[in-house]
Symmetry: C3
Subunit: 353 residues, 3 copies
């Protein structure tokens, strides 16, 4: 009586054990509505996600849902068990998309704890998890590792010996998943919005995406709720007043999706985000910030057995309130330009000639 | 010429007669989009409304639309005829949901005036109506009574003798509608997000839902428009400047849905709102307010002929800018804690062991 | 390397040639979600777009998407090629809707340059284009002319002799497209929300739509993104600070849709926008503005071979922060009342008795 016993308060560092498995709550059936909301929230213009006809010409049954939206939904489900008491999201690795997700598919997510290491201050520790999102047929739609810094509930709580998993520095091109049936002979550059194909990009090339998008509190809260992500820092303006920022923080994934939508201007034919090699939410963003982005081509790779599609490794940097014509990124001393909010290294699939 | 003759200005107290019937305008086909928007607007995480697969395991054809969204759509249709000139929404009674609503169902609403009583100041009066929402097959999806205080157009207008209908203090558990085909043997606590079933709750038990959600003007206006609710106080910041609040008021139903979404943390297995016994919008809410909620178990009831599902009578109190660990509610003198905005008494269906 | 060569910066006046054809990027499959968002964004209550059952009683397969949403989607696709460097949208002509658009239809858009005339200051010029939106079967869903003033990139650039196309002053009633199979014998005034049919309106009649809607930045940006419209003035609060307005401008189409939704109160049976004769975005609107509207009946026309449906030519004027009971429009000196933001002349279809 009068207790909070039925209220979940999330796991703290000392609650995790290596090998621990979670089947996260609230499976979600994605629909055409999620596709439309992805357009409305971010302004995405990639034809494969916008037009059933375009997708069918590529051998797919219909327009798949945006790859990043799949990530947001999968990631959102892990929050309540993994990162409700997280201080920070530290990194991603071995992050690969699997089969495309279509309207009507129901996603479920499970996670396994891969590693744990208490910080020297004994106030917190790093938790490594691998999360796998699957559809209703059990097929993997996304598989990724991430590590977060989690608070301890009790500084004195005993914890096990550190276990630090090895993660690959990047996803190998040979490991990128190409959707079954995909065939790009009928790829329509005009409908896609760009004549630039895989052959036209070179490592070292930089692209200023020029346009920008101002973020509103209403928008980032809506998208974060849509992903059933319960991280409190995004939703509570009342308690945020007494934090060091004084405001709600936008969900970092919202900025990733905005940067992806902005990157259309220069990377319109990068029709699928196939993997993330690493990424950092360099600084928080807030309602009222205007997001800009630029990209750099890091690497090109052919794909085994494919002549119609290649992989482009891209780094996209997003800033706030700072146009990107001067490529704001890391300064010579290794620190970031103060306007940078995101630095993401990922693989795109792109049609070849 | 130059007249307003084609413009509806709504009914005033003296326009109503006991027994008067309304078939409200604009039937609405609900779709998967409404389901997604319910998630995006409120952050709802109840598995039955989120996953077609989860719903099918319970014997339903697919995920039904959120019960409160059905209420909002039904209620919204009545505004133009019943409450466009209302001063206040005074109460609800005999408020029961019927058959579940699925994407593709089209809802229509009709209302009957049950009672009328002029106030002693002759400026206004109370109007009792019963409203019934039906689907395209004529099945009842929601049936409820409410009473509102409506302005008179003309203080001097003659009105009939008072007719005050009797309403039950609460919906009896035996009257709660259990959807046909519902069978909870396959209910998955893990997917639903809680191991607490009907047996685990006791009358008197209190649950602090802990999390909170800040309300934005853009959000409550969007949801209120989505329900085709035309109540002007929610939409016009220009004329609101000269009201006593100086601002637009959020639709009270928006707060009910936020409180329901927050209540997931502690009541995740309360998979269906089956009835409302009574409720009060204790104070208005505005863009910028942060909504918190707590609940108290009032009563438990078995359902006739069912061993897999029981009913839990719950009171949920929502506040603004006030965490609920101290159970803000009615103070000993019978008045409400100044932070309280909603006090709702309702029946949930919950799986039994 | 280090270039912006892959970034589209849009066409300038001197880039256009008469007869030039564009197949615009990013076809879009419209869905039930777009229908729901049209309700949520504007509060539209027209029964034909809200209820599949209502639409079927009129001989249509299901509820078609809102006519103005079709315009917004078609128009949005033209921006990147036609008006990214436009100073202003000057006018519309010969603007007719074709076959209705249903959920699942995929829209593509092409445009042809009809005329070009450099301004005397040589800084800019007027570009006339005709744009045609088609569905996946190649049927026309919208066909319209518009002219915009476009910047020159280089004042000194040589341009051709002026070509100024002739456009009709209004769409002739005989040219209005009536959807195949449409039959209004079963038209339900009660469900539609009005007993006023075509016979009840007379030229010269004015209707104050009374209600109003406050515009939020979050709302107009969402809708403009939903239409994949890339016009930068709507999205970038950072650079907007140094413009003469100091703020983001709302997409003019957002105001058209708000005015249409408001016009329901008085024109509820104007179930289809069939054509636009002309229109002017008289003044910009911004987040925080409250939109009001009034309409005037300009003309009535029977339709060839139809006794069940007639055409009503209506002028709708929208204002900001100004109720419309005094019909704010053009003042005697030919200038607009300072509150006017939109003046639109269009044809509605309406059931006859």
């Amino acid at each position: 009586m009068g207790t909070r016993s039925k209220t979940e308060t999330g796991n703290f560092f000392e609650d995790f054990t290596v090998g621990q498995a979670f089947a996260h709550a609230t499976p979600r059936t994605l629909t055409e509505a999620d596709a439309a909301l992805n357009v409305g929230l971010y302004g995405s213009r990639f034809a494969i996600n916008s037009s059933d006809e375009f997708a069918r010409r590529l051998g797919l049954p219909r327009a798949p849902l945006d790859d990043l939206m799949v990530f947001h939904v999968v990631s959102g489900k892990t929050v309540n068990d993994i990162s409700l008491n997280a201080v920070a999201n530290l990194g991603y690795a071995e992050f690969r998309w699997g089969v495309p997700v279509y309207p009507g598919d129901t996603l479920s997510v499970r996670s396994t704890v891969l590693g744990l290491r208490e910080n020297s201050n004994r106030e917190s520790g790093v938790v490594w998890v691998r999360s796998i999102g699957t559809n209703q047929k059990g097929e993997t739609v996304l598989d990724y590792g991430r590590w977060v810094m989690a608070h301890k509930r009790d500084r004195a709580a005993a914890v096990g010996a550190p276990v630090v998993p090895k993660t690959a520095a990047a996803v190998s091109p040979a490991e990128l998943f190409v959707p079954a049936g995909l065939a790009l002979a009928g790829y329509d550059d005009g409908a896609a919005g760009s004549a630039h194909r895989w052959e036209d990009y070179e490592p070292g090339e930089r692209i200023d995406h020029v346009s920008a998008m101002t973020l509103e509190d209403s928008d980032h809260m809506f998208s974060t709720r849509l992903y059933q992500n319960t991280a409190r820092v995004h939703f509570n303006a009342h308690t945020a007043k007494s934090t060091r920022f004084g405001r709600r923080l936008a969900y970092g994934g919202h900025v990733i999706s905005l940067a992806r939508a902005l990157s259309f201007n220069g990377l319109a034919n990068g029709f699928r985000v196939a993997a993330i090699n690493g990424g950092s939410h360099v600084a928080p963003t807030f309602g009222g910030d205007t997001i800009y982005a630029w990209s750099e081509v890091l690497e090109k790779a052919a794909l085994p057995g494919r002549t119609d599609v290649g992989a482009l490794r891209v780094r996209t940097v997003a800033t706030k309130d700072c146009p990107c014509g001067d490529w704001p990124g890391k300064t010579p001393d290794g620190r970031y330009h103060p306007a940078v909010v995101l630095d993401l290294d990922y693989w795109l699939l792109m049609p070849r000639r």
